[in-house]
Amino acid sequence: MAVVTEEPKAGFRLGMLIYDTRYRSITIQIVVLMLVMLGAAWLIDNLLRNLDALGRGISFGFLWNRAGYDINQTLVEYTNDSSHARATLVGLLNTLLIAVLGCIAATVVGVIAGVLRLSKNWVIARLMTIYVEIFRNIPLLLWILMIYTVFTEALPAPNAFRGDTPAASMVLFDTVAFTNRYTAIPWLIFDRSLGWLPLGPLWLNLDLALILAALVGGFLINRTILRRATRIQEATGLRPTTWWQSLLALFGPIIVVFLALGTHLDSPSLQGFNFTGGLQVSNSLVALWLALTLYTAAFIAEIVRAGINAISRGQSEAAFALGLRPGRTMNLIILPQALRVIIPPLISQYLNLTKNSSLAIAVGYMDLRGTLGGITLNQTGRGLEAMMLLMLIYLIISLLISSAMNVYNNSVKLKER
C-alpha cells in the first residue's frame, strides 16, 4: 500500500482566489464592489459631462447671492437683502420648529391614546380605535389640506373684527383673535431686554437664554430636592413634604427673571389690514402642526399599545398582588419595561414626522422645502444643486435624531449583566 503523502503546498497561487472557498467569497465581494463603483462613476461622469454640455455645470455659488424674496415666518433676522444661504437657514429653523413641536405633541397624544386604547372602559377604548384607524389610513397631505381649509374658510378675516358691531370678536378678555390667516395672541415684551449676542450666523437672544437657564436651573434644583426626599424615605421610611419646595424651585427662578427683565404682556390690536402687536401664529403652522401631530400620534398609539401588550400579564398581576393601584402599576412597572419595545419604532416615527414636515409647501409654510427647495430653486434655476443640498440636510437631521434617540434607547433598554 503506497501512501502518497503530498506536502501541502505553502504559498499562494492566483487561482486560489477563485477555486479556494476561503478566498472565493472575498474575491466576489471585491469584484462586485469595484463594478458598483465603476458603474456609479460612469453615471456621475455622464451626468456632469451632459450638464457641462448644456452649460449647466454644478455650482453652489448661488447660495451667496441676494435672495430678493420675503419669508413670512422668520426665527432669525432675515430681509430680502439676505443671501440664499440665509434663507436656507431660516427654512431649516422653521423645519426644526415644526419637527420639535410635532414630535413633542405626537408623543403626548400617542402615549395617551395608546394607553386609553387598552382601557377597560369600552367606549373610551373604541373611541381611540376609531381615532387611530381614521388618522392612520388617510394620507397626511389630505389632513393638512383639510385642517388648513377649515381654518381658512370657517374663521373670520381680520376685517370682520372692525367696526362698532363687528361680525367677529376677540376671545379671552379681548386678548386672543382667531382669524383665517393667523391666531393673534398676547406676547411677552421685555422692558429691560438684554438684546442679542452675535455668534457667527446665529444671533443668541440673551432674554431667551436667560429664561431657558432659569427653567433648566429650576428643574435641576427640583431634582436634587426629590432625590434627597427619596434618600430620607429609604433611610427612615418617611417621605418629607416637598411640594412647596418643588413649586418654589420650579417657578421661583423664572419669576425672578421675568421681574428682572421688566416683562409685561403685549396684546394684539387691529390696525390697518391686520392685527399688530402680540404674536401672530400663522394658520399654516398650526394646521401643519395639528395634522402632523394627529397623524403621527395614531402610529405612536399603536406602538405604545404593542409595547404594553408585550409585557407579560404576570408583571401587572404581581404589582396588583403587592397592592399597587392600576395608575402606579402602569407608571412604575409596565411603562418602564414597555419603553424598550417602544423606543426603536418610535425613532422611525420621529424621523417620519420630520420628513413629512416637507409637505408644508401645500399650505405655504416656509420650511426648508419652501425656501431652498422652492423659491430659491425657482429663482436661481439651480434645481440639481438645491435638491442635492436639500437631501443632504434632511439626511443630516434624520441621522442626528436617530443617533440622539439611540443614546436614549441605550439608557432605557434592558440592562443585561
Partner: protein, 341 residues
C-alpha cells in the same frame, strides 16, 4: 444588497442623465421627424392656455403653438400640449421634453443667460398688478401697507413685490401659493387682502369669479413683464423658426392680412411685402428650412396677431384686456416686426 444598490444608483442616475441628453441634431429636424410639436404651455390660465369644455386647448399662447405647427407641417393640429408649472417649466425645456416654452414667462436677464434659455421675442407686454375686493376701500397699491398678499411662488412677481414694498417703505405678509387655482381660493376666502400677479393673469382670474364686479385691479403696474416664448440656449436655428413665425403674425396684422382674406391676397396681391411674406415671391421659407408658404400656413392657423388677441383675451372676451402696449407701432403700441426680406 449590492446589486440592489447598484440598480438603484443606476436608475437614479439614468434619470438625471436622461434629463441632460445632449442635443445632437437641430430641433427643427427632430420635430419634423417626430411629426408633432411639443409645446410647453400653462397648466390652465383662461385666455392664455386652458383646455375648453371639450378638452381642446385654447388661448393666446396656444395660438402661437398652432401657428408654429402650421409653419412647420402645414397642419395646425399637430401639436402636443404639455402643461408646465411655474417651477418645472425651465427643466422641462432644458431636458428636451418640450420643444419650446410659451407659458406667460417673463424675459429676464438671468433667465436668458444663467438658465441657458434663449427668449426669441415678446408676444405679450405685461406688468404686475394687484387685485383687491372693492369693499376693502383701497384705490391704490400705495395704500397696501401691512396687507396680507397672496403670491404665486417661483415667479418674478415674488421678487417685484419685495422690491416694490421696500422702495415704498411698506410692509406686507406674503401667503405663498403654488397654482393660480389655489390663489383664487385663498383670495376669495379672505385669507389675503390682495392677490398679485401679471395684470393679464389678474384679469383672466377675475373673469372666472362668480362676482367679478366686486373686485378691482389697482391702477399701479409695478414691473415690466415682457412675456414671450423661449427655446434652449444655442438652438438658434430653431429659435429663428419661432421668432419669425411670431413676427409673421404681427406683420400680417400690419399688412392687413386676415384669415378671411389670406387666400385671396396670396394669389392676387401686388404688394411685394405681402408677396414675400406669403411666399408668392422670394422663397423666404427655404432660408429657415421650411416650405415657401410657411407664413401663410402659420397665419391660417388662427389668424393674425390682432385676430388672436381679439378672440382669446381681447375686450369682447370675458377677460377683456385692452391692446394697450400690445398694439401695432403704428397705433402707439410696441409691436414692431423687422422687415421680411
Amino acid at each position: 444588497m449590492k446589486q440592489s444598490v447598484f440598480l438603484g444608483t443606476l436608475a437614479a442616475t439614468t434619470l438625471f442623465a436622461g434629463m441632460a441628453l445632449a442635443q445632437g441634431t437641430s430641433t427643427l429636424d427632430t420635430v419634423k421627424a417626430r411629426g408633432e410639436l411639443n409645446c410647453g404651455v400653462n397648466t390652465g390660465l383662461v385666455g392664455f392656455a386652458a383646455p375648453d369644455a371639450s378638452g381642446n386647448w385654447q388661448g393666446f399662447d396656444v395660438a402661437l403653438c398652432k401657428a408654429v405647427a402650421g409653419a412647420i407641417f402645414g397642419d395646425a393640429s399637430k401639436v402636443v400640449y404639455i402643461p408646465t408649472t411655474s417651477s418645472d417649466r425651465f427643466e422641462q425645456l432644458t431636458s428636451g421634453k418640450i420643444d419650446f416654452l410659451i407659458r406667460n414667462t417673463t424675459w429676464t436677464f438671468s433667465r436668458d443667460t444663467d438658465l441657458n434659455m434663449d427668449f426669441v421675442g415678446v408676444n405679450y407686454y405685461d406688468g404686475q398688478g394687484f387685485m383687491v375686493r372693492k369693499d376693502l376701500g383701497v384705490s391704490s397699491a400705495k395704500e397696501l401697507n401691512g396687507a396680507t398678499i397672496c403670491i404665486q411662488t417661483g415667479t418674478t412677481t415674488e421678487l417685484n413685490l419685495a422690491d416694490y414694498f421696500k422702495a415704498n417703505n411698506m410692509t406686507y405678509t406674503a401667503v405663498p401659493i403654488e397654482t393660480n387655482a389655489e390663489g383664487e381660493q385663498q383670495y376669495l376666502a379672505g385669507a389675503c387682502d390682495a392677490y398679485t400677479t401679471d395684470a393679464s393673469g389678474l384679469a383672466a382670474t377675475r373673469a372666472a369669479f362668480a362676482d367679478p364686479e366686486n373686485h378691482i385691479i389697482l391702477p399701479e403696474i409695478i414691473s415690466k413683464e415682457p412675456l414671450g416664448p423661449a427655446v434652449r440656449h444655442g438652438d438658434s436655428a430653431w429659435g429663428d423658426v419661432i421668432r419669425w413665425t411670431m413676427n409673421a403674425l404681427v406683420a400680417a396684422e400690419e399688412f392687413g392680412i386676415t384669415s378671411a382674406n389670406i387666400e385671396e391676397l396670396a394669389t392676387s396681391s401686388q404688394n411685394p411685402e405681402i408677396q414675400r411674406l406669403l411666399g408668392t415671391s422670394d422663397n423666404l421659407g427655404a432660408m429657415i428650412g421650411l416650405d415657401a408658404d410657411w407664413a401663410k400656413n402659420a397665419i391660417k392657423a388662427s389668424g393674425n396677431y390682432g385676430e388672436i388677441f381679439a378672440a382669446t383675451i381681447g375686450e369682447s372676451t370675458p377677460i377683456g384686456l385692452a391692446r394697450g402696449l400690445n398694439a401695432q407701432w403704428t397705433q402707439g403700441g410696441l409691436l414692431y416686426t423687422p422687415p421680411f426680406r
